[in-house]
């Protein structure tokens, strides 16, 4: 199993980069603690050994800010992915397997969530609730992404339901619980795993967007918050530009790593016939 993973280049590279991020999240703040107090004498210092990414407009070390912020970024992505996958797959399996009225109701609700544009609603939700914790942001962000997953899983369940090996379970009088968990789920598990990582990607996208508008400023070390603050200070000033580029690059690298993991997992779990 490990061998299969390591033989897939995309997956290995992606996982290694993500592992680095995770490492930074847990170990980073211990090695490089962040001091949020402003040091007025050291504003906008250039990169040096003491401050690898320089300092910001209040004299705080940018490098350490980013290390501190990795944790909140990761938390948001993870929580949002968990919520999206849990809600989306539960409703999707329920809707696909039960059929009938339940299916119609769930589909009607899903359609609403797919029609109304996500971003304005994020803003509305952000005004309703005060976004104080990564979990809150995660909830807001996943409120819209579960719908797509639900519909996709429903389609898969519908087609699986008619397959012979499920039909024979009914002849052999095997319980619904067994059919759903032991027969259906293993067939869609790969799809769910891949969608978990996809959900993480879109969660980061959405959360950084919310921060850019200024609605979630609970944690100023979060990479999106740094970008937003730097922009707020005015990008005409090249010093601010420099500060902005670091979290931006970090975000992009994380997204790329997640993409590699997704593609790698797809190759690994869904072997397709090679097309000439």
């Amino acid at each position: 199993m490990i061998k299969r993973i390591t033989s897939n280049v995309q997956l290995t590279v992606g996982l290694m980069i993500m592992a680095m991020f995770v490492l930074v999240t847990f170990v980073g703040p211990i090695i490089f603690p962040y001091d949020p107090n402003p040091v007025v004498t050291e504003i906008y210092l250039p990169n040096s050994l003491a401050h690898p990414f320089g300092t910001d407009w209040m004299g705080r070390d940018v490098f350490r800010q980013m290390i501190g912020g990795a944790g909140s970024v990761f938390q948001i992505a993870f929580y949002a992915a968990v919520i999206t996958v849990l809600v989306g797959s539960t409703l999707g399996i329920l809707s696909g397997y039960a059929g009938g009225k339940i299916d119609k109701i769930i589909m009607a609700v899903t359609n609403i969530f797919l029609s109304v544009p996500a971003f304005p609603v994020y803003l509305v939700l952000a005004s309703i609730m005060t976004l104080e914790s990564p979990l809150a942001i995660a909830v807001v962000v996943s409120a819209w992404s579960w719908a797509g997953l639900c519909r996709a899983i429903r389609v898969q369940v519908l087609s699986l339901k008619e397959r012979d090996f499920i039909q024979i379970c009914k002849v052999m009088r095997m319980g619904t619980g067994h059919i759903i968990f032991k027969e259906l789920m293993p067939n869609i598990l790969s799809y769910i795993i891949i969608n978990f990582v996809i959900a993480m990607r879109s969660a980061i996208l959405a959360s950084v967007g919310i921060m850019l508008v200024g609605l979630a400023s609970y944690d100023p070390t979060n990479w999106g918050a740094i970008v937003s603050a730097a922009r707020g200070r005015g990008l005409i000033n090249p010093m601010n530009v420099r500060i902005l580029l670091y979290p931006l690059t970090a975000i992009v690298i994380f997204q790329v790593a997640a993409l590699l993991v997704v593609n790698g997992l797809d190759e690994l779990l869904n072997p397709r016939l090679k097309v000439m």
Binding site: I112, A118, F119
Partner: protein, 356 residues
């Protein structure tokens, strides 16, 4: 045979019934889709209404205080006046408020601002929507057409350098959020090199709106950066979709037969591959087009571009919720409508889906 012989049309009423029945039978597919869309729209209305009611805070309060001081009346009376002027009573029975909202929507009234008078959602849409659509649709079509051309080419030459370059491009462009790309472009092209303007849709000081050349040129010049940012980020997605679809088509037997007949790559590409591979992309395109009406909030905020997205976000932040209600409903409505149109057009372009 069979049934129709036994039923004789004796009365004109019976004949009418048959016509209606035949109509339902023939257009069953479309009618059920329309019914589903209507249901979705109704539920959307309900959801938006209740969602906005959950926002804490009472905007009428501030207004009432102002009126009270102005006219020197009691607060209760001032409140009543405020309610009247703003068409909004937070204490109203929620069901009655919903019915009022609903009847207003049916008549086309999408809500009024409670902060500025004489500003309604309809007027905002009229003024702002064209700008949003201008940016988004230009960008969408550019990224679509570039995407499918490149996608078609690399699908046929999978082993070449172009395909590898395309894959790298797809990975990178899919990982940068569009607003961050916009920021990068603004920093470099607008501020550093001063090639394009960083804000607004046209320079109100130097040109006047209308069908004159300087205005059009100015608008295009101001639109360059947003469109560029959006296109750069989204072309990758279209390339990927087109490439995948084309690879699927190229594996089919009729392509093999075409190759055996000696047709060139280019002929195969244009005559066989493109039409078949584009079919699933049409639904994607339709859905993307529907999503345009939601407004690219962040892009517009970065460029300070006076479009619908910026308007919605501004109004939410300033708590002008009545108008926001209507604007969000409008976006949702357009998405549902466009999706419905795509579903109705699809059987026309894909013969396999047609019903008798």
């Amino acid at each position: 045979m069979g049934n129709s012989e036994t039923f004789e049309e004796k009365t004109p009423f019976a004949k009418l019934l048959r016509v209606v029945q035949a109509f339902f039978v023939k257009h069953h597919y479309i009618l059920s889709k329309i019914a589903m869309s209507i249901v979705t729209m109704l539920l959307t209305m309900v959801m938006i209404f209740f969602l906005l009611r959950m926002i804490p805070g009472d905007p009428v309060y501030q207004y009432a205080i102002g009126i009270q001081q102005q006219r020197r009346i009691t607060f209760e009376e001032a409140y009543k006046v405020a309610v009247q002027m703003l068409h909004y009573d937070p204490n109203e029975n929620i069901l009655r408020a919903f019915l009022r909202y609903f009847s207003g929507l049916i008549q086309g009234d999408l809500g009024h601002s409670i902060i500025e008078t004489n500003v309604s959602a309809n007027s905002l849409i009229r003024t702002r929507l064209p700008w949003t659509l201008f940016l988004s649709s230009c960008a969408l079509f550019i990224s679509f057409f570039v995407g499918i051309t490149v996608g078609g080419y690399v699908a046929q030459h999978r082993k070449g350098l172009a395909n590898k370059a395309a894959s790298v491009y797809i990975a990178l462009s899919g990982s940068i959020p569009d607003y961050l790309m916009a920021l990068l472009l603004v920093i470099n092209l607008a501020y550093k090199y001063k090639l394009f303007p960083a804000q607004y849709n046209y320079d109100a000081f130097s040109v006047t709106p209308g069908f004159n050349l300087p205005f059009i040129r100015d608008v295009l010049w101001h639109g360059c950066l947003p469109i560029l940012a959006y296109s750069l980020v989204n072309t990758g997605n279209w390339i990927m979709q087109m490439r995948g679809s084309c690879i699927g088509v190229l594996g089919e037997d009729y392509i093999l037969a075409a190759k055996a007949r000696g047709l060139s790559s280019r002929t195969i590409r244009s005559r066989y591959m493109k039409k078949n591979a584009l079919l699933p992309l049409v639904t994607s395109l339709g859905m993307a087009f529907g999503g345009l009406f939601g407004g690219a909030v962040l892009m517009e905020s970065i460029f300070n571009y006076p479009g619908l997205g910026l308007e919605i976000s501004g109004r939410i932040l300033s708590k002008d919720y009545m108008v926001v209600q209507g604007l969000i409903f409008f976006s949702g409505f357009m998405v549902i409508l466009v999706n419905l149109l795509v579903e109705m057009i699809y059987p026309w372009i894909d013969p396999r889906v047609r019903r008798e």
